[in-house]
């Protein structure tokens, strides 16, 4: 959702530098999965603040509801029942939603100028009024987050409550979390906070507890504390080492400027051939 700001670090389909006079602090949301009880208060708060109402689904035998992210559900709890060790069942509950990558694949893939922006504080935001509904952001995202609305063909996802953050408030999900599993602040502080949590978890027998801040996408502005940091896939297939697909990097990298140059050169080659070699003319009285 749009909230105009001068503090823009990157802008989709824009080849010049966006306004970058100011350099505010990087923010981050930290999701401590070891503290999450799966109450879905964050889902409700997200719906309330952003004024979204997903369809009431049906019970399919698991707690996930809604079943998936949508234009109306920008965050969902994903419940995984896993036996990490024989006979020791764990219920891992991951709050899924946009990770706000430092190197956002959606923004890289987007062809519409200004439809996706990355604020200088690290939040990646969709400006739906500039969205053309092409779905390229889906190809760019390594986390399968953006959803195209069936109603208006625009892409939607978590904004990290950019409108709240811009006026000094914390995101709605953070505000409502009853267990302190969600915390928000400067990225530096969140990493520091996570270190304390990880040390605590290690003491309690989670030797592989770790912070999920994947470097393949330059780090993220939504981070997880994972009890089993060595196996992020346990958490509803959280990718172990996410990065923008090389196909997307190839497609949106050097290829297109080079291809555009090739098209230009082909036209000029024709022009210069015509003015040097000249046209191929046939004498009308040509005989055998």
């Amino acid at each position: 959702m749009a909230l105009q700001s001068l503090d823009i670090k990157a802008r989709s389909a824009t080849t010049t530098q966006p306004p970058s006079a100011r350099n505010p602090v990087h923010v981050a949301k930290l999701i401590d999965i070891s503290k999450c009880i799966g109450c879905k208060a964050c889902q409700a708060a997200c719906m309330e603040w952003n004024d979204l109402r997903d369809e009431v689904g049906t019970n399919v035998g698991i707690y996930d509801n809604p079943r998936d992210l949508s234009d109306q559900s920008w965050t969902v709890m994903r419940f995984s029942e896993v036996e990490v060790e024989q006979g020791r069942l764990e219920w891992l509950i991951r709050k899924d939603g946009c990770m706000h990558c430092e190197d956002p694949g959606c923004l890289k893939a987007c062809p519409s100028p200004g439809a996706i922006v990355q604020y200088a504080n690290g939040i990646v935001d969709f400006h739906e009024e500039h969205c053309i509904g092409c779905g390229y952001c889906l190809t760019g995202c390594p986390f399968n987050i953006p959803r195209i609305s069936k109603k208006d063909s625009k892409a939607y996802k978590c904004t990290l409550c950019s409108d709240r953050v811009a006026v000094g408030l914390e995101p709605a999900c953070i505000k409502t979390c009853p267990t302190g599993a969600l915390v928000f602040g400067s990225k530096e502080d969140m990493i520091h906070h996570a270190e304390g949590r990880i040390a605590d978890l290690k003491e309690r027998g989670y030797a592989k507890a770790a912070l999920y801040n994947p470097q393949g996408v330059g780090g993220t502005h939504v981070m997880y504390v994972l009890q089993h940091g060595d196996q992020p896939e346990l958490y509803a297939n959280l990718p172990k080492d996410p990065s923008i697909s090389p196909l997307v990097s190839l497609w949106k990298g050097v290829t297109k400027p080079l291809m555009s140059l090739g098209i230009g050169l082909a036209v000029f080659a024709g022009l210069f051939h015509y003015v040097t070699a000249g046209p191929k003319e046939v004498e009308e009285e040509e005989t055998d």
């Binding site: 389909a13 824009t14 080849t15 062809p111 519409s112 100028p113 500039h130 969205c131 053309i132 509904g133 092409c134 779905g135 390229y136 889906l138 190809t139 399968n144 195209i148 069936k150 063909s153 697909s245 196909l247 997307v248 190839l250 497609w251 290829t255 297109k256 400027p257 291809m259 555009s260 090739g262 098209i263 082909a266 036209v267 024709g270 051939h273 015509y274 070699a277 000249g278 046209p279 191929k280 003319e281 046939v282 004498e283 009308e284 009285e285 040509e286 055998d288």
Partner: protein, 205 residues
Amino acid sequence: MRTMIQRYTARERSNHWVVAIAFILAGLSGLALFHPAFFFLTSLFGGGPWDRILHPFIGVVMFLSFIAMAARFWRFNRFTPADRQWMKRIGDVICNRDQGLPELGKYNAGQKYLFWTMVMSIPALLLSGIVIWQPWFAHYFPIWLLRVAVIIHALAAWIMILGIIVHVYAAIWVKGTVRAMTRGTVSEAWAKHHHRAWYREMTGK
């Protein structure tokens, strides 16, 4: 008075121009999303969303009309030994040194290469385009396939655009050619010079 030879019927010419117009519209609306430098082209189609909405439908028109045209011209585009001889002298052809070139049928090897380039790239554009067609078909396909499809689509479009640039330039370069597609006829001298085997076939001379 010059004697003219019929090269394309009215139906063939109409078919060609339907493909050509669809190509120009699909090309411009597609380039608009190809690179930010061309995004301004969306204005020609009523803005970004309209560009995205219209582009695939124009593409389907191009595909269907091209299939009809390809069926008409397929048999004239098979490669022959004379084509190989002609290709060996492509440098002379480009420099307008046409003396002693082999006798050719309706099309030369360059035209045949263009034909087969189009036969390859247009179906590739259709298939990859369906995979990424929002909001109608894209949700039926996994994201990895969308990633493959956007690359194929961009690559096939690029090859096609380059091919058409050569095609259009060749028509401007070789005088007397354009009227084959506007009026349907070419002069006897033109036919005799560029496509002598075809000329013999048409005139019996």
